[in-house]
């Protein structure tokens, strides 16, 4: 009997190997799996609608005309401003310059959001709030609508939080950072077309850790149709939130929608920042405030200039200092220093080992927020979802 078992297993192995040569129908198998994944995450995908807005989005440098200017002869200016515009909001408007975005006029259709906590904290794309709306409405998958108030945001990730008054919202399953593999299927979901099922775009994971460790890159179409929506894997788990981000900063990132390049802020990085954003903080990329000597190729990075009022200046860094390590990681060269610093947030402490003629010293620097002046002078504003990536050799 044991011999027949042996021959049976041989026969099965041979049969198995023959089956392996038959044509694969992976897409037919994949389709119901994908649709099950969509169904699994759908309860956590919400619709964001914004109303009113005090910022004007201009195409290519036109002049800003206030909303309430009469548009024709004989029209009276308004007698009363619409309700809900509190005095401090009006003051805020005066400070903000008009947004400029070359060639892309943002539509005011609805956008998408993802439930982060069961008591009503929702992640949305910063893009959706560009107009500085006076009213934000969230509609959950079961059709209920809620008024939402703004929480904090992370400008380096193109994300903002809003809060609704709800209980028992369904939170999706989040993927831990080591579970994302380049080449795996990714699907980006959105609510813009207003159907019961969210819209779907299909692609693969093109890269991880993009934009100094902040985002996953995909070739699934990301566009206003799904900004703020989840990027999920084939099991319906959330990998990240689709947002317009850009390496060069010259456009808002929204114009990359047709290029096969899309970004999603890594969800595993967002959750640790949640408590600060819930408290209303606006988080920025961390800024050291130095430029390095480009002719020095390492090891370490030699400082050429230390900006006034920078985090580096406050900590006592000087021109000529050699940065040897950041938080126990040895700095190999200037690019490495930029990489290490740029992945951090404003307010984060970094412990530097600095080489000087007098010897090696340890200096702790509290990074500052990347200042407005460092973000894209004469280029589209930070608020349009642009990440301010500096060119080579400039301040870090």
């Amino acid at each position: 009997m044991r011999w027949s078992l042996l021959w049976l297993s041989v026969a099965v192995s041979c049969g198995g190997s023959l089956a392996a040569q038959a044509p694969t129908d992976e897409f037919l198998h994949l389709e119901p799996v994908l649709q099950a994944a969509i169904r699994k995450v759908t309860p956590s995908v919400v619709t964001i609608e914004t109303f009113g807005g005090t910022r004007r989005l201009l195409a290519g440098g036109g002049s800003a005309v206030p909303d309430d200017a009469p548009s024709g002869p004989g029209e009276k200016p308004p007698e009363k401003k619409p309700p809900e515009k509190k005095p401090d909001e009006e003051k805020k408007d005066e400070k903000l310059p008009p947004l400029q975005q070359a060639g892309f006029l943002q539509a005011q259709g609805s956008t998408t959001g993802v439930v982060l906590t069961s008591d009503g904290w929702i992640a949305v794309s910063r893009f959706a709030l560009n107009y500085d709306p006076s009213t934000i409405l969230v509609t959950t998958a079961d059709g209920k609508s809620y008024h939402a108030r703004r929480g904090g945001e992370d400008t380096s990730r193109g994300l903002a939080l809003v809060k609704i008054d709800a209980q028992d919202l369904i939170v999706p399953e989040f993927v831990p950072p080591d579970a994302a593999r380049v080449g795996q299927w990714t699907f980006v979901l959105g609510r813009t077309f207003g159907q019961e099922e969210p819209s779907v775009h299909m692609g693969i994971l093109s890269a991880v850790g993009r934009l100094f460790g902040r985002a996953l890159q995909t070739d699934a179409y990301t566009s206003p149709a799904n900004y703020g929506g989840p990027m999920i894997d084939i099991q319906g788990r959330v990998l990240g939130i689709s947002v317009p981000l850009s390496r060069s900063g010259r456009d808002a990132g929204a114009e990359l929608y047709d290029s096969g390049i899309g970004f999603a802020s890594t969800i595993a990085d967002i959750m640790p920042l949640l408590s600060r954003m819930k408290a209303g903080e606006t988080l920025h990329r961390g800024w050291l405030g130095v430029s390095t000597v480009t002719t020095y190729l390492g090891p370490g990075a030699r400082l050429a200039q230390v900006a006034e009022n920078s985090a580096a200046a406050a900590a006592g860094l000087e021109r000529g200092d050699l940065i040897l390590s950041v938080d126990t990681v040895d700095v190999r060269n200037s690019f490495h220093l930029q990489s290490l610093i740029s992945s951090k947030m404003g307010g984060d402490p970094v412990h530097l080992k600095v080489g000087r003629k007098s010897g090696t010293v340890g200096i702790t620097v509290f990074l500052k927020d990347l200042p407005e002046s460092e973000r894209q002078p004469q280029k589209p504003a930070e608020e349009a979802g642009v990440l301010p990536w500096e060119e080579e050799d400039k301040k870090k």
Partner: protein
């Protein structure tokens, strides 16, 4: 003990044997000339391509592409395509998959759908028509293959291009084509199988071989201000085909969306007529009006009428035109920090 080792050895040999067997045939399978389709996806494309034709039309205007694709819908030679400007009498030629060319006769187009039927006389040649699916419930995430002569890359008898994606959404969306609004009332199958010039009039297929859509021009969605790839559901064009090919009359047209009687609701919006229409805040509610009976108050912000979003006073007026007197409309509105929903029965506007 030794038995289990023997078993393991046999399995290993079988496994290794199968692996090397695959390697030997690998190079042969990828010889340049056509190999027989093996996977369901390959079979699907091979099966559908003979039913697609290349259409060439009137050229001369820099803004139009004088080429497109069409689908054979009858054995007698009827071909469905988009209603494109370049399709002109005596100037439209159809190229079959085998490279043969024919003049096409034009049928009246369906203006609402934007499609047109052509007819060729292929003589004794056997044509393989496709049957349009009449299903309308395609799920988002369904895999689709789009076939069409993208960028006129296929010349003469070269095979029409195939590309792949999913149904992104089955939706109605405000549309724009080259700066002008498109008045299209039906649903579209929006996909991420990319649509390109020349692909118009081509077909959208599921993995199971159902023909579910006719590729449209590339248009912009007003919801997102981005271009979308889309197809008209074949369920919507089937009556047009039936009518012209088989003489089957479509049932009487449904009442249009614009009713003839004006509605009265009693809502005055705070609309100061600025350059950008402001959100639909209620300024006044008329006495004895439907809005008063529903309980609407000044300062309420109207955000939805039935399922239509209302983002501005202009949109409120536009959406209101869809309704008729005596119709009950669900009004979703924001009062303070609450979002409420109430039903309002519209009345007829007094003369």
């Amino acid at each position: 003990m030794s038995l289990s080792w023997g078993f393991a050895a046999c399995c290993l040999i079988a496994f290794v044997g199968s692996a090397t067997a695959q390697d030997e045939t690998y190079g042969q399978d990828y010889a340049f000339e056509d190999r027989a389709p093996r996977t369901p996806l390959e079979k699907l494309v091979a099966q559908k391509l003979p039913s697609l034709v290349k259409i060439h039309g009137a050229s001369g205007l820099s803004t139009i592409d004088p080429y497109a694709t069409g689908v054979i819908v009858s054995a007698q030679g009827h071909i469905l395509t988009l209603d494109l400007i370049m399709i002109q009498k005596d100037q439209t030629r159809v190229v079959l998959h085998d490279g043969s060319v024919y003049h096409a006769k034009l049928y009246p187009s369906d203006r609402k759908l934007g499609v047109r039927l052509l007819k060729i006389d292929a003589g004794e040649k056997k044509l393989t028509p496709l049957v349009p699916s009449t299903r309308t419930d395609w799920s988002h995430g369904t895999f689709v293959v789009s076939l069409g002569n993208s960028f006129r890359l296929a010349e003469f008898s070269e095979k029409i291009s195939a590309t792949f994606g999913v149904i992104t959404a089955r939706a109605r969306t405000g549309l724009r084509y080259r700066m002008s609004d498109v008045d299209y009332a039906g649903e579209l199958l929006i996909t991420d199988a990319p649509n390109n010039p020349g692909q118009y009039g081509g077909g959208l297929f599921t993995l199971r071989g159902e023909w579910i859509g006719l590729n449209t021009r590339i248009m912009e969605s007003k919801e997102t201000n981005t271009q979308i790839s889309a197809a008209i559901p074949t369920a919507d064009v089937a009556p047009y085909i039936d009518h012209l090919v088989r003489g089957i009359r479509a049932p009487a047209e449904e009442a249009s969306d614009e009713p003839e009687r004006a509605v009265f609701h009693g809502i005055s919006l705070f609309d100061h007529g600025g350059r950008q229409s402001p959100p639909a805040y209620v300024e006044r509610v008329a006495r004895n009006s439907p809005a008063r009976k529903t309980g609407l108050r000044p300062d309420d912000l109207i955000v939805r009428l039935d399922e239509y979003p209302v983002r501005s006073c202009a949109e409120f007026r536009k959406v209101m035109r869809r309704f008729a007197p005596d119709q009950v409309v669900e009004v979703t509105f924001k009062r303070g920090t609450r979002v409420l929903r109430k039903s309002m029965k519209l009345e007829e506007a007094p003369e």
